[in-house]
Symmetry: C2
Subunit: 127 residues, 2 copies
DNA sequence: TTCATAACTGGTAATGATTATCACTTTCAT
DNA sequence: ATGAAAGTGATAATCATTACCAGTTATGAA
């Protein structure tokens, strides 16, 4: 990320505009509207760089997803559609902070992810 | 898992014998010593079934790993070699239990994974 | 036991996300 | 203004996982 690039700027801008957590392919489709000639490899390259640089988060899973919101917040993943959603954990938050602080003292980083069937998948159950 | 199969029995047995967290391919190699004719598809099929049946754990990541130990315990993943190791979290444990209990009350399942460079990768740094 | 059938197997082809490669273009410090 | 380092886009390659299929095995009912 030594030089600046229009492609990278637009990828970051688009990712910050949405509140979902798109896959690389979904980012590619979003960015193509502004930069029709961009290649998928450029998208992967820049998503990787942006996440290594701390500008975005990479969410591991079967398919990787990316999050343009780097404020501390929480996610849940739907085990059916494999999508990731933001989550307000309310009073869980202070417990999480304890876990996080205590982990750091022990030289560990913590990764917490919640799992819950999403509303969409609950609705589509009858189908 | 309605019928029993020798292949599945041996996969489970081998997985319970080791304290590492092998990939499907590593399980394949292990099991091949006892069942030289087994196919890789059979290994994947049975690992999936065993994990859905709650006999083993599947650990998500770039490459999936499997754990034959279903007693409650904790893992850390090395971000360099991507291997997974067991971890004694000591006093973190009670905090984790709080988080877990409170999550369940809110209809969420929690997944916690720790991250730390493993000893092997620290040693090999100079190389 | 015999039989029907549902589950399981092994080999292999297909899939699909991600990475590597390469010739070309852009950026930027000097 | 120029040359080295970084970035790009097209496409081929990789590789973990899944799908498919013809043949085998397990199981329960007759």
């Amino acid at each position: 990320m030594k030089y600046k690039s229009r492609q990278r700027d637009i990828i970051l801008e688009q990712l910050k505009m949405v509140d979902c957590h798109p896959t690389a392919d979904e980012v590619y489709i979003m960015v193509k509207r502004k930069l029709p000639k961009i290649g998928i490899a450029t998208v992967y390259r820049n998503l990787e760089q942006l996440s290594k640089g701390g500008c975005i988060f990479k969410l591991d899973g079967d398919i990787k997803r990316y999050d343009g919101n780097i404020m501390r917040h929480f996610h849940y993943r739907c085990p059916q559609c494999e999508r990731v959603f933001d989550l307000d954990i309310g009073k869980l938050e202070s417990i999480y902070d304890d876990l996080s602080n205590e982990s750091h003292k022990q030289g560990l980083e913590v990764k917490v992810e919640f799992v819950r069937i999403c509303e969409n998948c609950i609705e589509n159950k009858g189908k």
